[in-house]
């Protein structure tokens, strides 16, 4: 398969074009856009949405949804900010504990959807209330402190490469590894035809559970990335990520009916959504127009994707 057909098959062509246009517009409005420092700071602020969008993409490819990711990121952020300094053996121990909780949350969603067969839309909406309540219980008011080592490491560079880029690259490398393994194939195939997977003698329960667990590893990365920026805890921090991640997936050409698309599309979709904010800011649009403009651009992007998918059929 040539790269071109691979792009086409995964519905990546429109989002590639769109992200190129929006980045070009941003670079035109902000001449310093390609400076190393500005690239680093843009990557740092885009990384959390990119990571949670990739997480959502994995669940959507599996033909489910997860409406609890935004609340989940907030809960993990509050947890990270609630640790006393040097507790659990310092930052590594705290990160490990947070990862454990993230996988527990993912497993809960997975059990409700895969084992008990609840519709994911409503079940994860219910768990989002649980996660939000949990975050508020840990941190009724915004506050606390995230270990400064996490913030320092996030803004560092390794051999000239900013750490957020390394995190994103590592996450995508992990997905590429999984998608070449049979587990990754099963996740996508289950999305396109659960019956076929079942008849092939593969446990649907285990595949769906696996998809949620894998996705919540990415949710954990997103929570660490956003915590490294704010360095404090806020139970409402990531509320917009739930719907933002779904929008990123749709703009990225991933079908909500499952099985079609690629997490790379979600990554680019998140870039489009994140850079729109930059463009609107640098274009000097008055603040009262910003929301409306952003809404129109998103609707335009969605219309474009839908049109493209219809003509492709």
């Amino acid at each position: 398969m040539t790269p071109a057909t691979s792009l086409k098959q995964n519905g990546l062509v429109p989002v590639l074009g769109m992200s190129a246009v929006i980045v070009a517009v941003n670079a035109w409005l902000q001449p310093s856009f390609f400076d190393a420092s500005s690239i680093a700071s843009n990557l740092a602020s885009l990384a959390p949405l990119i990571l949670v969008s990739v997480a959502q993409a994995i669940v959507i490819l599996n033909r489910e949804l997860d409406l609890s990711m935004g609340a989940g990121v907030s809960l993990l952020n509050c947890l990270l900010a609630s640790f006393a300094p040097y507790s659990l053996g310092g930052v590594p121990g705290q990160l490990a504990a947070t990862l454990g909780v993230a996988l527990l949350l993912g497993a809960t969603n997975g059990v409700l959807v895969a084992v008990l067969g609840l519709p994911s839309l409503i079940a994860t909406f219910a768990t989002s209330a649980l996660w939000f309540g949990g975050a508020l219980a840990i941190m009724p008011q915004p506050g606390g402190a995230v270990g400064e080592a996490i913030g320092d490491a996030y803004y560092a560079t390794v051999a000239g490469v900013p750490v957020p880029l390394l995190v994103i690259a590592g996450a995508m490398a992990l997905w590429m590894l999984v998608s070449r393994h049979r587990v990754g194939r099963w996740i996508v195939v289950t999305g396109s035809s659960p019956a076929a997977v079942f008849q092939a003698g593969i446990s649907l329960i285990r595949v769906r559970l696996g998809a949620y667990l894998l996705a919540w590893f990415f949710v954990f990365l997103s929570a660490v990335a956003i915590s490294a920026q704010t360095l404090s805890g806020d139970a409402r921090l990531a509320q917009s990520y739930t719907l933002g991640s779904i929008a990123a997936c749709v703009i990225g050409g991933i079908s909500l009916r499952g099985g079609k698309g690629s997490p790379w599309g979600a990554l680019l979709g998140a870039v489009v959504l994140g850079v729109i904010g930059n463009v609107i800011y640098f274009a000097g649009i008055p603040s009262s127009w910003q929301e409306f403009t952003k809404g129109l651009i998103v609707v335009g992007a969605l219309g474009f994707i839908v049109f493209e998918q219809r003509t492709a059929r």
Partner: protein
């Protein structure tokens, strides 16, 4: 079962908080439940037409209806009937655009209604900052939405009338086709139902009801403000789910949704009256919803 849960809730309320069951108390709760129930009707209609139906724009459309209503009041010298009609029409228009995108162009409902909500919300922020529309509700609107006559809240009469109308509609020729579109689009189409039209119609109706509810809400809180309808977006989906509307489409038991709206309101007010912190309220809400889903699941297995 839902009625049993409701009675149990009232009993618990009376036990822990003597005076929880008083006629004034109950009238108050029903007022709040009426709005939730109306938004639940929006979801009932769109979910019933299937195709992963969902309307996440009800909050934005309600806020739109609220501002359109109060502006009409200012323009027509307090003509409340005109305000309500214009607000409903604005909602119908917004809902029709949703319907066009979803049924006509095949955009997934979740995405289409979310996108229209963001445009409407953004447009309202813009309009409010530029045009400074009137925001006050008229005395007549306040009386419809917030006052009682002979102990019965007026809004309850409105809700009751709309419930009867909804039940009639859902069982009429049109309603049956609407539900058939949800339960099996192919069969419905082959037996002569214009499934696209009915799916679009459902979103238009949902928008109209949301616009109307928005105008009534201004009467309840006495003025329009940005974000007025936001609290109802997800709660309306929850009451529809608890009320027994199957997410796959095809079923629209609105009486169940009515019960669910009352249960939800009583539960929230009970938790608030117990001065439970937001954290506890969220956890109890989430667990209640999960418990309902699981119970429903178990009943299907048995």
């Amino acid at each position: 079962m839902l009625i049993g849960v409701l009675l149990a809730l009232f009993a618990i309320g009376q036990m822990v908080l003597p005076g929880f069951i008083g006629s004034a108390q109950i009238a108050n709760q029903l007022k709040i439940a009426a709005f939730l129930g109306l938004f639940g009707l929006c979801q009932t209609v769109v979910i019933a037409t299937g195709g992963q139906g969902l309307d996440l724009s009800v909050g934005a459309v309600a806020t739109l209806g609220a501002f359109v209503g109060t502006s009409t009041l200012a323009l027509t010298d307090g003509n409340t009937a005109a305000a309500i009609l214009v607000a409903t029409a604005a909602g119908l228009l917004a809902g029709s655009l949703n319907g066009l995108g979803i049924a006509g162009l095949g955009v997934p409902p979740l995405v289409a209604t979310l996108a229209s909500a963001s445009v409407i919300d953004g447009g309202l922020v813009l309009a409010v900052s530029q045009l400074h529309p009137a925001i006050a509700a008229s005395p007549a609107l306040v009386s419809i939405a917030a006052l009682t006559s002979a102990g019965v809240p007026n809004i309850l009469i409105v809700w009751g009338a709309l419930t009867v109308a909804a039940l009639w509609f859902l069982h009429s020729f049109w309603g049956v086709r609407l539900r058939a579109t949800g339960s099996n689009p192919v069969t419905a189409y082959l037996s002569g139902t214009n499934t696209r039209f009915f799916r679009g119609l459902a979103y238009a109706l949902s928008g109209g009801i949301a616009g109307l509810s928005g105008a009534l809400l201004t009467g309840y809180v006495s003025q329009a403000f940005l974000g007025l309808g936001n609290a109802y977006v997800l709660t309306s989906v929850v009451v529809a789910a608890i009320g027994g509307v199957a997410l796959e489409g095809g079923r629209a038991p609105y009486l169940g949704v009515v019960c669910a709206a009352v249960i939800m309101t009583v539960l929230i007010s009970l938790l608030t009256a117990l001065q439970m912190a937001e954290a506890g309220r969220q956890i109890i809400l989430g667990s209640t919803l999960l418990a309902f889903l699981l119970l429903d699941r178990i009943l299907k297995w048995v």
